[in-house]
Amino acid sequence: MSAFAFENRIWDEAETTPRDRLGKLQARRLRELVARVAEVPFYKEALARAKVKPGDIKGPDDIRRLPFTAKEDLRQHYPLGFLAVPRSQVARFHGSSGTTGKPTFVAYTADDLELWANLCARFLVAGGLRPEHTVQIAFGYGLFTGGFGLHYGVEKVGASVVPAAAGNTPRQLMLMQDLQADVLVCTPSYALNIAEVARQQGIDPRTLPLKFAHFGAEPWTEDMRKQIEAELDLIASNNYGLSEVIGPGVSGECAARNGMHISEDHFLAECVHPDTLEPVARGEQGELVFTTLTKQAMPLIRYRTRDIASLDSSPCPCGRTGARMSWVLGRTDDMLIIRGVNVFPSQIEEALLRVEGTAPHYLIEVDRPGAMDEVTVHVEVRPESFSDKMSQMQVLRDRIDREIQAVTGIRANVQLVEPQSLERSVGKAKRVVDHRREKGLI
């Protein structure tokens, strides 16, 4: 039996650089990086504190002498504090969820965009994409990096792009059938939703023209892959990325399917213990930390992803030498991923604060009753804002709904509940109940 689930092809020769040469390349790029960020105020100060100069970097392990960067640091230097090039060289800005109403912004030069497209092409080809394919991108475009990363990656490979964007599943199905799309790009849960809606319409999802799928932007499992592949009769590959580092394109699976190859020539990966920040033993789980070696507009040193996974740099039969990361197994903070959108409970709190008549007591309930995530926010109503008119209560509910959508970008079911009805615990209140975890879905 072949070691591969499907044909193994490689987009970029650099993906097979022998590991010893890769190490030297990383060290050189890391030295250059330390020199390049010298004028970024945050790093100027942090490097001075750590007493590190570019010349001190001899090998990739010297990364441990460098300071960490956290999401909070990006927030404090909003909007442009981390920019390492003159603003006029910025070709694109993207954003991702912040812990508050202000999103985190990331910048790209024209070269960064070219790199990004190339990195996405790497995992797309690794996951079966060929120039003759027609790819339906059912990710949201816009400030979110998912849609654009994949869009330019597919374009780079030379396949046809159907930029369907997110939502409107009946229309997605119609286009997929009519345009004979054979590759799907979206979140894994949305793929299950497509299958479900197809069945509702009397279409056997296995008869859809899809052959391959590239999934990312939310945690999923090997079991879910089996289910999706069975229901839609396609080959599903996993990819990983985050806006702060570049967007999708940080890592992706190959045909051997034993982890996601990190493009280590551009991202130096570490796996650390989230409390001690010391490296975990080889192959152990820990928090992933990335250093962008070549990004120009907004390079980051030792960015703490908060994602828990393990690393494996043993040889892979596909020939790629980049270390492989496992499926993401959890988070070291309270961030939720809902339908591919990152949401922090603090954002919901901020949205509620904007609406008069709500008490600061709420509970976020996340579940996946069918294929798609659903969020219910239970909000206590202040006694004085209760109205006996159903229409007025609906207005209040709509208002909360709109604010949550404005801050987080997701739609939630808002349940108004009676004052004092939500459980209060001593100390910190329990704000989130995630049924997906109990069900083993994430």
Binding site: H94, V161, A164, A165, P170
Partner: protein, 443 residues
């Protein structure tokens, strides 16, 4: 970017050289491209081939640009009848992008692009942005919706090719749009004019003074607007507001754009050959006279369009413009020769609404479309009479009917619709066909 768009070639920006060609030279380019386009359509598009054969025409009949008027028209229904691939002139493996726009029924109109088509599209969008006074270094907020709609990605690729900084905010979430505009010192915005007015209103509510921001230009299209709206936008936003024109069937945005004179939209004639016809007789009318705009794509590869009837009523202006551009101008589009209307930049046909209602209720209920503008944002309400068949005693069931109708419309039209259930016989019936669209928008 190898090409320096903002460099001057003589007295013109390099990107816009084609806008300033001597007219004879322009006609030569047009003729050469027209002959190639007709030959390609004749060879690769069955529909065009058959129609030309019926009229005993072949590509050799095109000896001057005026000969275009001998060719058969292409109409939206042709795109529906040949859906999805019938009008493709390139094999699918050469197609790198597909877009879709509203069709008159449940099926959309699908359009295709090769790599070269995308490059041409980017170049005409660069010419659009340059005509609107933008250049490399500008920070452009693109608030057109991204996705199948050509507006978002069209403006995006143009801004990127220009060498500007692009912030792809896409549509919606007005508060965040305002935050981005302010925090990132945005200098130009691309969106529908009514959305910009809405944004101004909301900014005022949030205490943000748009007049004081670095924003200096608005690239406005995808819906009809008026001089009165322009005056309001320019005064309240302290910006220059430019009108641009385009349609997916031809390429998307980038067919025509205003220049600093703000007096008519220059058509990028070296790629899109314009004619004005009498919509009743189909006969060409001379420059200056009002009629329906007909466009022929001169360089599109994946999906050439021969004499596509846009249904937009305008006139051509051949007199020289003070900006020096030699390509002809078209007047602002004010109305259409069919029943299509535009809501927040999205094209809607009443027949689409009917198809969606029918899918939910089995029989077509009496309905009426009411268009209003609240806080400068288009609102589309579909009033549907409640019949004994669908009426339920339970609020929940009626709410669910309303939601189902709204979802069906939302899904079919791509625009959020408010559905109101109304009592029977409250929608006026006229003899014969009911008046389906009440447009109360003040522009």
């Amino acid at each position: 970017m190898a090409e320096l768009w903002n460099d001057q070639v003589g007295e013109f920006p390099a990107a816009s050289v084609q806008d300033f060609l001597p007219v004879e030279k322009l006609r030569q380019i047009q003729l050469r491209r027209l002959q190639a386009a007709v030959a390609r359509a004749y060879e690769q598009q069955e529909l065009i081939h058959n129609r030309m054969e019926e009229r005993r025409l072949n590509p050799g009949c095109v000896r001057s640009v005026e000969d275009v008027s001998r060719l058969p028209f292409t109409v939206k229904a042709d795109l529906r009848d040949t859906y999805p691939f019938g009008m493709f002139a390139s094999p699918i493996h050469e197609v790198v992008r597909l877009h879709a726009s509203s069709g008159t029924t449940g099926k959309p109109i699908v359009v295709a692009y090769t790599k070269e088509d995308i490059e041409v599209w980017s170049s005409v969008m660069v010419r659009t942005l340059v005509a609107c006074g933008l250049h490399r270094g500008d920070i452009i907020q693109n608030s057109y919706g991204y996705g199948l709609f050509t507006g978002g990605l069209g403006a995006h690729y143009g801004a990127e090719a220009l060498g500007a900084t692009v912030i792809p905010t896409s549509g919606g979430n007005t508060d965040r749009q305002i935050m981005v505009m302010k925090d990132f010192c945005v200098t130009a915005i691309c969106c529908t004019p009514s959305y910009f007015l809405h944004l101004l209103d909301r900014a005022a509510e949030l205490g943000v003074d748009v007049k004081a921001l670095p924003l200096r230009a608005g690239v406005f299209g995808a819906e009809p607007w008026t001089e009165a709206m322009r005056q309001r936008i320019e005064a309240e936003g302290n910006i220059k507001a430019y009108d641009i024109y385009g349609l997916s069937e031809i390429i998307g945005p980038g067919v025509a754009s205003e220049c600093e004179a703000q007096n008519g939209l220059h058509i990028f004639e070296d790629h899109f050959y314009p004619e004005i016809i009498d919509p009743e007789t189909g006969q060409p009318v001379p420059d200056g006279q009002e009629g329906e705009l007909v466009l022929t794509t001169l360089s599109k590869y994946a999906m050439p369009m021969i004499r596509y009837r846009t249904r937009d009523i305008t006139r051509l202006i051949a007199e020289p413009c003070r900006c020096g551009r030699t390509v002809r101008r078209m007047a602002r589009v004010g109305r259409r020769s069919d029943d299509m209307f535009i809501v927040r930049g999205v094209n809607v046909f009443p027949s689409q609404v009917e198809a969606a209602l029918l899918a939910v209720e089995q029989t077509l209920p009496h309905y009426q479309i009411v268009l209003t503008r609240e806080k400068d944002l288009d609102q589309m309400e579909v009033q549907v009479e409640v019949t004994a068949e669908v009426f339920s005693d339970e609020i929940r069931a009626l709410e669910s009917l309303r939601t189902k109708l709204a979802q069906a419309l939302d899904s079919a039209l791509g625009v959020r619709v408010k559905v109101s259930l109304v009592e029977p016989h409250t929608i006026a019936r006229s003899e014969g066909k009911a008046r389906r669209v009440i447009d109360k928008r003040q522009m």
